[in-house]
């Protein structure tokens, strides 16, 4: 089973979606900066999360995480 390691802290998740949730959820500067470095606006993701379902905010980030943070 593959896992995904948070690019800025020690958190390891089983799915990129869970890691996305962690990254948006922590919301501190390090996590936000990483999100911004991938071309996302944190507040937009958050607003998307709060106002709609289907986890659009998470999904957008999780695609990047899937590519970049997978560890064996």
């Amino acid at each position: 089973m593959s896992s995904y390691k948070c690019p800025v802290c020690i958190k390891v998740s089983n799915t990129p979606l869970d890691l996305a949730r962690h990254m948006i959820g922590r919301g501190d500067k390090e996590h936000r900066d990483w999100i911004a470095s991938k071309g996302f606006k944190y507040s937009e993701l958050l607003t998307m999360q709060l106002s709609s379902f289907g986890g659009e905010g998470y999904r957008a980030i999780s695609e990047v995480l899937e590519r970049e943070t997978k560890v064996k």
Binding site: R21, G25, R26, K29, K41, Y42, T47, Q49, L50, F53
Partner: protein, 761 residues
Amino acid sequence: MSEKYSVIGKNVHRVDGTEKVTGTAKYTFDIVLPNMLYGKILRSPYTSAKIVSIDTSKAEKMEGVYAVVTAKDTIHKKQGIWRRFPELCDEEILCSTKVRYIGDPVAAVAAIDEYTAEEALNLIEVEYEPLPAVYSQLEAIKEDAPQVHDGVELNINVTRHIEWGDVDEAFKECDVIREDHFVCSSQAHMCMETHCAAASYSYDGKLTVWASTQASYYTQVLLAGMLGMREGDIRVIKPPVGGGFGGKFELDSAQFCAALLSKKICRPVRIVLTREEEFTATKRRTPIVYTSRIGAKKDGTILAKEIRGITDGGAYTGMGATALYLTGFFSSFPYKYPNYRYDGYRAYTNTEPTSAMRGFGAPQAVFVGEQQIDLIAKDLGIDPIEIRRINGMVPNYEVPGQAFIQSCGLHQCLDKIDNYIKGRGKLPANRGIGVAAYGFMSGGIFNWFDTPYAFSSAIVKLSIDGKVDLFTGACDIGQGSDTTLSMITAEELGVKLSDIRIHAADTAICPADLGAWGSRETLMNGNACKMAAADAKRQIIEFAAAKMGVNIVHDLDIRDGWIYLADRPERKVSYYDIVREAIRGRDGETIIGRGHYTPHRKGMISPAYSFGVQAVEVDVDPETGKMKLINVVTAHESGTVINPIGITGQLEGAIMMAGGYALCEDQPMDQGKILNPSLADYKVIRSLDMPKTEIIEVDTYEPEGPFGAKEAGEGLTNPTAGAIANAVRNAVGVTITSLPITPEKIFMAMQEKKAKEKKAK
């Protein structure tokens, strides 16, 4: 000795009853000390502004003014109740450089009387430079929103996530999914006694504070931190308190300013907040905006719930972050959601800070959850009681990774309410009954305050005549913990209630206790008191066993003043005689029993949960939308009932408060200014509007609680708003998703519904 208990379960006069009905109870509000001065606090008129300068010279020169304090007189610390997280300790109380809401304190004055103090406030010149401000949580998290606290970008104060199961997969298997949006408003605690404190700093460096508080231990510790004093040099005494409801366990401006002023001049200073300050500059219930999705199978089994909430935190953290935590947890109550996800965010805004209030995030969660359960039941064509039966929690249920529920009488409560509703038969037009189920905790396990003490402790000291002094840090703020704890102690020790004299919440003589919040006193402090009584009892019985010369196989017990052999009750000696002899026999050493309680291995939230179901009948005027509460029937279980009158009182009082939250209590704002900071404009339920109430007690026994008892105060505020919303839907067919449910909202929704129906034709 046929009945199980001698004291517990009996209707007794409260131990503080006669002093309260005769007006002889001395509240902090009544305290007058020799040489005392009267304090007043100057507060910010701006929602957000830089403090350019404060000139207190004119005020200081005024005749009758003895001291003026500003941030300059402090040690520049910030306080907060989540001490484990220093970044969340964000409140200076006396602002040094920036004010963050209308009501933020900037200076305080001590003068010969209140008139002089108030006039002196007018002489303090503060130059402000107004800054941009933000007033709602949804605005606050925008990229370009003004920052309430420097360095906290997007104004995100705290986040919280709870998850179990596989929510996304589960939704795929659902036959019906609902998504709804809800808005929960604010509410004022509206304690009858406003926040007040009297502080007396002596020349020898010791400080005594009388405070209208619901946690004298927190006041002591937080004051020590803010004043740079040792905890042991501060004594906080809690006289009778005129209500708390969650609004009085943080260090407040009255306590801090009175202490600071007193420390400056070594004279007693009393500060009583005005009703307006109480409304605008204390704390309030947390407003929350929710989006909630729930999915079920055709047979009514709920497979998944996903809920998101963003709370308006106001200007500071305080204890408010806990509401974010608890609303997420209680959104899963009281059902067995196999898959659950909660995302919560708390945003700072330039408004009065929000914090704990009776129910602490749960009434909001239940308003949302119980409406959605009714709505999905309707979609599925299932009876509202039935869907609750299908999914309701049961004894020995584990909330995955969160909590372990031992006793749970939810299903019995559902049966009782079902019977009641069926008994009502067909209702007249525009009448409806709505139900809501709920569960609540008996004290929090979390220790964000970072106390090294046990959560609750008690000491029992016996006099030579067998009379008992009970020392506990528990705070009776009107809910009756002094009586409940005295009853538990009397029962355990086998003496009469009148043999007990309780000394509570004086930090110098009582062991520490985290205070009255999260419905913790009965279970947590009850356990500590029971243990302390048992400890004293053991010492007496040891002596009695020797004295009576009984065979070692016999077990001794005490009841109604007699020490007797458990299996041969006719062999007995007088408790009162034995105590005298035991003390004499122990070289005159006082008999002291100690007890302490901290929950261990009980999950992350609470050691026990109580449950109930409430049915509210309403009548709606179809032409104006005006709704009247007719009757509220509550089936409730709280384990063994210690004090039946107390529970009835808690229940009826909760309906007044939670019914008010549903109907009329609100703190509307315009650009951060509360528009109704007076009792003429802030509406609460009065006697003419109070519905009839019925309580159906369901028997359960909580193994973790003292004599099987658990929570019976806060949980009762949870169901009412949701039940009322459901009742309105059943009466006139409209769903109101935002609080309060005003006649205007009902009327407008009915108009909309009519228009839609017309269109459909």
